[in-house]
């Protein structure tokens, strides 16, 4: 059978992958550089029997998908910097109410209106801590179209597994770039479907009572069970509670369900780490330049390797520590003032060996930028 090959934009790949994962509702609002996701959804969803809504702003978008997800559908919204800021209240609500959804942030330069058409990776910590209050979050990323496809499907699977919002942190470069995509065959990538309760109609259903494995079976809202959903701290029935035990228990549950599964959630790619004296750590479009530099230096005999992170939160501290145990130099390549590098320094045994190769001027980080840092490390001067 011939393969289904497409030559499309990263944003369109994200749409196709979401549809593959079973998405049937999307609500969004135009914002560069993520607009093509909404545009492509408006075309594709009616074809697949789903529904597309263009909302009046970004907080409306996230609240619409939360409502649709609770009612039994796989959902997504997409935005960029300022829109992601507007979404934070809805994101916190989805975390608190444990409603599966996927939020795409195609990062552009910030803060504020920033650089609408320029790439950045400056929202890594906003993805982690943009929401007020203690919480946990899953944030994934990818550097090429094939990976955008699989990581987007992963995002939907994780959203269902852990009943949580999952953030896809892409950037302007991978979002707008066009390259080859081999569309996976149906069932080639396993899908996690909504875990629905086996509790029959008329029997007391506890929407917030986890099973032994920690998962919470859902009942389509407005269906056979009447229950309460609130952004307040709530008990196993979903009713508001300020009982200290309930509050303590819920917050621990919200954090632990993700924290205790770091190893399962972690996604990464590694190149030549076994004997590497110098390890590049990167993610998103920056990882493409890092890969190029790594291949180039390897061909000259340098013992250099690359660790490409595809899950940024929960941060894989243990993985990074183990992989970097024997490295003399660790270079974090990212398009910001140094965000992932903070987590890397916390993870490794020798934080003094970690340096940053970055770019913050709205231009794609290119191999020369990384090579210059490597030359400095080797004492060669730029």
């Amino acid at each position: 059978m011939s393969k289904n090959v497409k030559f499309i934009q990263g944003n369109e790949v994200c749409v196709e992958a979401a549809l593959y994962a079973g998405l049937d509702f999307f609500a969004g609002y135009p914002i560069t550089p993520s607009t093509e996701i909404a545009e492509h959804m408006s075309l594709r969803l009616p074809q697949t029997g789903g529904k597309f809504l263009q909302m009046e702003d970004e907080i409306a978008s996230i609240c619409a998908i939360v409502g649709a997800s609770l009612t039994g559908h796989k959902v997504m919204t997409a935005t960029s910097g300022p829109g992601f800021s507007l979404m934070q209240e809805g994101l916190g609500y989805a975390i608190m109410t444990e409603i599966p959804c996927v939020i795409v942030n195609v990062q552009r330069g910030g803060p504020s209106t920033g650089l609408p058409t320029g790439p950045s990776q400056g929202d890594v910590y906003q993805a982690r801590w943009g929401v007020h209050g203690d919480h946990a979050i899953i944030a994934l990323t990818a550097s090429n179209h094939q990976d955008i496809f699989s990581i987007t499907v992963d995002a939907f699977n994780m959203a269902e597994t852990y009943r949580t919002p999952v953030i896809l942190l892409f950037d302007e470069v991978v979002g707008h770039m066009r390259e080859r995509l081999v569309v996976p065959e149906p069932e080639e990538i396993p899908l996690v479907e909504r875990l629905r309760t086996s509790v029959k109609a008329g029997v007391d259903y506890h929407p917030y009572l986890p099973r032994e494995d920690g998962r919470l079976p859902m009942s389509d809202f407005g269906g056979v069970h009447r229950y309460n959903v609130t952004g307040l701290f709530h008990d196993m029935w979903g009713f508001p509670s300020n009982n200290s035990g309930v509050t303590h228990g819920l917050l621990r549950h919200l954090v632990d369900k993700i924290k205790n599964n770091v190893e399962v959630i972690t996604r990464f790619k590694e190149y030549y780490l076994e004997d590497a004296e110098c390890i590049l750590i990167s993610y998103g479009s920056s990882a493409r330049s890092a890969l190029h530099v790594m291949e180039n230096r390897r061909s000259r005999g340098d013992r250099i390797g690359l660790l490409e992170l595809q899950s940024l939160w929960p941060f894989p501290y243990e993985l990074v520590r183990k992989k970097c145990a024997n490295a003399k130099h660790i270079v974090v390549v990212e398009m910001n003032m140094g965000q992932v590098i903070r987590a890397v320094k916390r993870a490794v045994d020798h934080p003094d060996r970690v340096v940053l190769a970055n770019r913050i001027d709205g231009f794609f980080i290119n191999p020369t930028d990384i090579k210059n840092i490597l030359r400095l490390i080797q004492g060669k001067g730029v």
């Binding site: 607009t35 545009e39 075309l43 702003d57």
Partner: protein, 292 residues
């Protein structure tokens, strides 16, 4: 309509980064002729946030506060309050927003400001979609139009939000429509709004977008004229939410207006009849309010 002399002074520089035939730039040129140089422009995300643009192509000779998308009404309120504290009653604060920043994301801050009856002029230059991000529908997009988020057979099936009526319902001192094809009327309205200090004044300006509406750039003003002549966009004023006056009554069918534009090309004769019916209904309602 009375004839009068259009002020000679321009507060817009020649040469800017707007698209050829951009109605929004024509709107600004006329608006500033009416407002003069003691004006502060508060501009949220919209085409004009770009056109006001990078040095040396800065298009305006007045100060610009480029604010966040949803905040034109709020940011203008703050600027006005500070000017009042400094006893500066001369400077006119003008919020200058597109239809997305007015009808959709900015409606909350606009409504808040209008209810407080903030002393500024809010201008919506309306090109009937999110043009800056590449023609996505807004709640100002008219029934029947194709955009990149109402594509193919899924062209927009809901009516354009009537923003002037929404603002008039706030009982603000002045709400009016204006068109780039009727400069005397438009400049007079801006002068009138400027003189009516002490409350919120709202002017809804019809501004053709040749690239988004799929018309050639030299048709920009003609299309705007057809919108008024076909009563698709009637020119009228509302004082204190109750006193309506119709400034121009058109007599052409909407077909003339619709057929001139690519965004309506897919419409059948039945669709056009439906739009004519809606237009007649809206005009009838307006005329009853104006007691004509």
């Amino acid at each position: 309509m009375t004839q009068f002399n259009i002020p000679d002074t321009d507060y817009m520089y020649p040469g800017h980064v707007g698209c050829p035939g951009c109605g929004a730039t024509i709107a600004m040129k006329f608006a500033l002729k009416g407002l003069g140089d003691k004006t502060i422009m508060v501009i949220p995300a919209c085409c004009w946030a770009i056109i006001a643009g990078p040095h040396p192509q800065t298009a305006l000779k007045v100060p610009i506060l480029h604010t966040a998308f949803e905040t034109a009404g709020a940011a203008s309120s703050g600027v006005r309050a500070a000017l009042d504290m400094k006893n500066d009653t001369e400077t006119t604060v003008v919020a200058w927003a597109g239809d997305g920043g007015t009808f959709d994301i900015g409606l909350q801050s606009l409504s808040g400001a209008a209810e407080r009856n903030e002393d500024f002029i809010y201008v919506c230059y309306d090109n009937e979609a999110y043009m800056n991000t590449g023609v996505q529908r807004s709640s100002s997009t008219p029934y029947g139009a194709r955009t990149t988020t109402t594509p193919g057979q899924d062209w927009k099936q809901t009516r354009k939000k009537n923003i002037v009526e929404a603002l008039a319902a706030h009982r603000i001192p002045y709400a009016a429509t204006a068109s780039i094809a009727f400069p005397e009327d438009m400049i007079q309205k801006f002068q009138k709004a400027k003189e009516m200090k002490g409350g919120t004044r709202f002017i809804h300006v019809f501004a053709t977008c040749p690239s988004g509406w799929r018309v050639s750039s030299e048709m920009s003003v003609k299309i705007a004229r057809l919108a008024v002549q076909s009563n698709f966009f009637p020119l009228y004023e509302v004082e204190h939410g109750v006193k309506y006056s119709l400034n121009y009554k058109g007599d052409r069918p909407v077909e003339d207006y619709l057929k001139a534009q690519g965004r309506f090309r897919h419409l059948t004769d039945a669709d056009i009849k439906e739009i004519q019916k809606m237009t007649d209904e809206d005009l009838g309602l307006l005329m009853r309010k104006a007691e004509i």
